[in-house]
């Protein structure tokens, strides 16, 4: 049945298709005709929907691309901002360092003492000796006095090449000859356990006021006379004859960045004080 029907049906269908084709070409002159119109009405909306969907997909892709681009640009700009901030901080730190060095240089030039600048490597409050480690170009010698702009820091107790350990005034084993600047009375200055100093052997009859300046007396062979040591912060007991004064150090040991090794011979005290004032 199928094989018998196949060939006639083939010719019939092919003939019909050719007839349809010929009729259309002759009749419509390129227009679609009714069947074409119906087909277009059916397929047009579908194609339009596909077009819209494709446009939306393309838009989404475009937006995603733009978002990625913006994200990458944002990341690059953030990195640049971070870099600029770091650079600004670095420059600020350099400016502070430059100011510090300039001040130190001005102080060094203004002092009549032979001073040599040394960089503070670290301050050591935790070890047995309250000390700081400094780095100086030519090296230091034992018992060499170390001062800062504000006043006396301590003395060298150990050296190793360009490095030296300085015993701070506030160390309990440290002592130096000091005097009250106004009254001129000398005494022995020692380090205290609370980070302050004690000026011993000050006569009781001597009038002392809080804030009186204490300077080096120049009698210990280490520190030149007249260098600021601190200011009287209070009175503590003593004996019947002598009183002990509590002295606040002139130097803030936590904020030391640059110190000076005293190289030259000790000049007269009044000249030192004038030089120190000029430096400040």
């Amino acid at each position: 049945m199928s094989s018998r029907l196949g060939r006639p049906l083939l010719f019939l269908l092919l003939g019909a298709q050719l007839a349809l084709l010929t009729w259309q070409v002759r009749r419509t002159h390129g227009t679609l005709g009714l069947a074409g119109e119906v087909t277009l009405r059916l397929t047009g909306p579908v194609a339009h929907a596909f077009r819209g969907a494709a446009d939306r997909i393309a838009e989404v892709r475009l937006r995603a691309q733009q978002r990625r681009l913006l994200a990458s640009e944002n990341a690059a700009l953030r990195a640049e901002v971070g870099e600029l901030r770091r650079e600004r901080l670095r420059l600020a730190a350099l400016a502070v360092e430059a100011d510090r060095l300039a001040a130190a240089l001005a102080y060094e030039r203004a002092q009549p003492l032979g001073l040599r600048a040394a960089e503070v490597v670290f301050v050591d409050h935790s070890s047995r000796v309250r000390s700081l480690v400094i780095r100086c170009g030519r090296g230091a010698r034992i018992n060499q006095a170390v001062v800062a702009e504000a006043g006396v820091v301590g003395r060298v107790i150990a050296t190793a090449g360009a490095y030296a350990r300085v015993q701070l005034l506030t160390d309990r084993a440290a002592s130096l000859g000091a005097q009250l600047e106004e009254a001129g009375s000398q005494g022995l200055l020692r380090g205290g356990p609370d980070g302050q100093l004690r000026l011993e052997f000050v006569p009781r009859q001597l009038p002392v006021a809080i804030g009186d300046r204490v300077v080096t007396a120049g009698i210990d062979g280490v520190f030149p006379p007249g260098l600021p040591v601190g200011a009287v912060a209070g009175v503590e007991g003593g004996t019947e004859v002598f009183q002990t004064l509590r002295v606040a150090p002139a130097v803030d040991f936590r904020r030391l960045g640059m110190v000076f090794l005293v190289d030259g011979p000790a000049p007269p005290a009044d000249e030192l004080v004038r030089g120190g004032d000029a430096g400040r």
Binding site: L13, L21, V25, L32, A35, R51
Partner: protein
Amino acid sequence: MRAVSIGLGFLLAALLQLAGVTVWPEFALAFDLILVAVVFFARDGRAVAALLVGSAGGLLADALGGGPFGLHGFADTLVAYTTARVAQQLVVERSSGVLLVFTLASTLQQALLAALGLLFLPSVQLPAAPWMVARALSTGVAGLLLAVGQRAATRRLLARRERRRTGWRG
């Protein structure tokens, strides 16, 4: 059931073809999914069914392409019949054979379209040769994928039936 599946197949092919054309204007030059469906359904060797399928598919392709009606109708009818006759003589199961059948079917269709166009249409412009080759190859690949998918689905269906049958016995 078969008529429904053929109808659904043509609908899907038409939708995909439309979608392709809307996304990429040259899609119709490189792909003819209606022909893929026609050849796929004609492969079972039933000549009369293949004739009807080819004729319907061809007219659908003409409608999608904006006419004139009868151009693809003629070509696809002849291609479907030829495919069915070949399938009656040869059992093509290997992938390379399936690829060849679809590719040759597309080549035949394009030759017929070119001939009809030259004979009947006043001003016809044939597609460039690379597009014709691309269309033949794409038809072959699409037909192969379809056949492989059908084979896998049939195998799975049979296995499921077998499991059910043995399960009922047990």
